[in-house]
């Protein structure tokens, strides 16, 4: 089938939008597929609706959210075709994309593909994490952005990382009672992060933002417990209280809503499904695609930009998106190598500067030991209800890798395609076998990456074949 587009971009967050604006400016016939109903990605979710219809929510969401307004405006003005509400459920090495929207499923073909699928919240398994009333901080923040929804019960935050503190502050600003922040971070993390502090200070306002956030939280008198371990959510029908260990003793605390967060990891389901080559990023214990400085993967025509290529944050993603667009324009014959280098130079400088903050943040917020090695009774695969103990048993029976454990236990076979359990399963097998996670590998990711019905598959439009 002959390509319908020069460039197909997947994802409407900062990287995807910035790339589309640049690519379209070079006259590339560009399409952007976005599973969200409006541009912005997770970070700037519903920014147009908030800015236009709910301006009272802007101060709650803070100045960083506001940065999305200009990005979305520029994207709306550009010549790229925007397809909202469109999921990409398949990508082949021949650069065919299986998409599904309200009209059904079909295949499209592009000369070049840029994946800007962002990040996923790291799954944090603990006893009770599937109880109603337990959700991720990112999901709850998404509800605030999309529809102004706020909790009306006491909230307990558990985990670590900037988003945990940011959302706690946002809730406090909105008048929601925050009972406590239970942080798994240890003193040792500060020691480990200290050498990277000068670089992080040079990266921009990352450290200053963090300190402002902490001060804001102190002003709201939200208690912060550090070095928390053995966390559990308790309750029969829904979460009623939490239990945790801190300072050598077990504590209990009433909770109406538990918001969990332990950082974000690259959403590399599409690159893994092709599959492109991936590497294990030790400091954050997660996979990311192997790329050159321009975002090219090992497979010709497949590029990544933004957090799906490794976590860099929203500001870095904008520059990464532009850099990727310059490279795509070169590959598609619109720019020479020299022109690309000249045009991309300011973005490359800015991108590298933003990334200077990562070693500090990665060292400060590593996943906690309890997240990496849950006890046997803890559910790991939520879709198929497989416990850590069942996974360890499968390893002892000869299931030497994630795909064998998957075949044996069904872990990772559910609708989420292993997004919720993949990292934990790799960690458990690695620990059980005494191997490094990169030697253990991960699930083979099978299409459809996003849900697709039998009827939609049956109606695949083949006019393009």
């Amino acid at each position: 089938m002959s390509p319908q587009y020069d460039l197909a971009i997947v994802g409407g967050g900062p990287a995807g939008m910035a790339a589309a604006v640049r690519a379209a400016a070079f006259g590339l016939h560009t399409v952007l597929f976005d599973e969200q109903p409006a541009p912005g990605g997770q970070i700037y979710r519903a920014i147009e609706a908030v800015a236009g219809g709910r301006p009272q929510d802007l101060p709650i969401l803070g100045p960083e959210y506001r940065r999305g307004i200009a990005l979305v405006e520029a994207f709306r003005k550009c010549d790229a075709t925007y397809c909202p509400g469109t999921s990409v459920w398949q990508l082949t090495r021949e650069l065919e994309l299986g998409i599904v929207d309200a009209g059904g499923a079909r295949m499209v073909h592009a000369r070049h593909v840029l994946l800007a699928t962002g990040a996923l919240e790291r799954p944090v398994p603990f006893p009770g994490w599937t109880l109603p009333g337990v959700m991720t901080a990112g999901a709850a923040q998404g509800l605030l952005k999309a529809s102004g929804m706020l909790p009306d019960v006491p909230v307990v935050f558990y985990g670590g990382g900037p988003l945990l503190y940011q959302f706690a502050w946002q809730l406090a600003q909105a008048g929601v009672p925050v009972a406590a922040i239970l942080d798994t971070g240890r003193r040792a993390n500060y020691v480990a992060a200290a050498p990277y502090l000068p670089a992080a200070l040079a990266a921009g306002d990352y450290v200053a933002k963090g300190l402002r956030l902490l001060n804001g939280i102190r002003r709201h008198r939200i208690p912060i417990m550090r070095g928390v371990s053995d966390f559990q959510a308790l309750g029969n029908d829904r979460v009623r209280e939490v239990a945790y260990r801190q300072g050598g003793t077990t504590h209990h605390m009433a909770a109406g809503l538990v918001l969990v967060h332990a950082g974000v990891v690259a959403n590399c389901q599409l690159t893994q499904s092709v599959p492109c080559r991936h590497e294990w990023y030790g400091p954050q214990r997660a996979w990311r695609p192997v790329t050159d400085p321009w975002g090219n993967t090992d497979l010709a025509g497949i590029q990544v930009a933004g957090d799906c290529g490794g976590i860099g944050g929203a500001d870095a993603a904008v520059h990464a998106g532009r850099i990727a667009a310059f490279e795509a324009a070169r590959r598609l014959g619109r720019l020479s190598g020299d022109q690309r280098d000249t045009l991309a130079h300011p973005d490359r400088l800015a991108w590298r500067r933003h990334l200077l903050a990562r070693p500090f943040l990665d060292a400060l917020y590593p996943p906690s030991p309890g997240t990496l090695a849950p006890d046997d009774a803890t559910l790991i695969c939520r879709c198929e209800e497989v416990t850590a103990g069942a996974i360890r048993a499968a390893v002892r029976l000869g299931g030497t890798g994630p795909n064998q454990v998957k075949s044996y236990t069904r872990a990772g076979m559910g609708p989420c395609q292993g997004r919720e359990c993949g990292l934990t399963v790799t960690e458990i097998i690695a620990a059980e076998r005494g191997l490094a996670p990169e030697a253990v590998g991960t699930y083979r990711i099978r299409p459809p990456i996003k849900p697709l019905t039998v009827g939609q598959m049956a109606g695949l439009d083949d006019a393009t074949r």
Partner: protein, 380 residues
Amino acid sequence: MSDADVIIVGGGLHGCSAAYNLASRRVKVLVLEKHVVGRHASSASAGGVRRLGRHPAEIPLAMASIELWHRLNELLGADTEFHASGQVRVAETPDELDACEARVALTRSLGYDHEILIDKGELVRLVPGIAATAQGGIYVREDGHAFPYKTTLAFRNAAERHGAIVREGVAVLAIERATHTWRVLTDRGRFEAPVLVNAAGAWGGEVAAMIGDPVPTSPVALMMMVTARMSRWLGPTVGSMGRKLSFKQSESGTMVIGGGYRGTVHPESELTSLDFAGLRASARTVSELFPHMRHVDIVRCWAGIEGFTPDDIPYIGPSKAAPDAYHSFAFCGHGFQLGPVVGAITAELILNGRSNLPIEAFRIDRFEGTGAAYRGDISR
């Protein structure tokens, strides 16, 4: 110095079944698997335990194997999730009904009565929800389905309990015949044994050539889809006389859709890619035969690599070129049911020099002089 009495190349279902059947008879077995046990067809299989519609040459083997299936969990001390929920083949036109009658007449003439004709009423009773176009078909009551990977691991673990050694991550590079012994050269060193078994699946043709028995084979990627879980509604596995279909509800409640549509094999990487025209056709078949399936989510699509032969039946039996070598590979997408019995046949051949079951039709040299080269694009 021998490393074992028998070296088995290939740690799939057939290699592990041969290993179990030999080890349980006190034979010292070494299984060499280039990847991990059950990496390809043995875990990608849809898991049908089917006698229905088999090639006449396979029927005696399939009849013997079903006996083993019904007591396999006890034999192996593990749960293979075998369920004798039956197999049905649906006819949708008068011609297809005639074909059903002819088929059942054929099996009767060979002396078997496991396949029975069913009318529309019986079909609807067995397969509720089937489209009104369905007219009747063939039913085999004691057939069913099982969990392929668990079955393979059950054979492997039982073999190991009897002393078999299974080495994963050992790729065979060359095979040499020395005096009374086979030397198997691998990327992990050299192994020796007086007897060799080729159970290398889709790679069996390469191993056969190393032994001196070049045969036409081709790796084929058979595609499958699986849906979200549904509450239990389908007992038997459903096939079709006129369409490519294998449709069943697994133990977990998911619907497993196969039938022989092919993807593409990438031999170097041992990966496959899916052909969406085939998946679409497969989804259409299911939507038409089971209209209520249209709104069910597909959770996963995949293709497993399987060895095929020009006549769609496997290679089983002794080497033509060399003594003390045996083949058991290229089961053409229907080797799962035969796994228990063919391992036993291989053990009998090694220990007794003969098998009680007829295996002449599967001999390794049956295409010699015919000029048959495998045409990779033939579809059933």
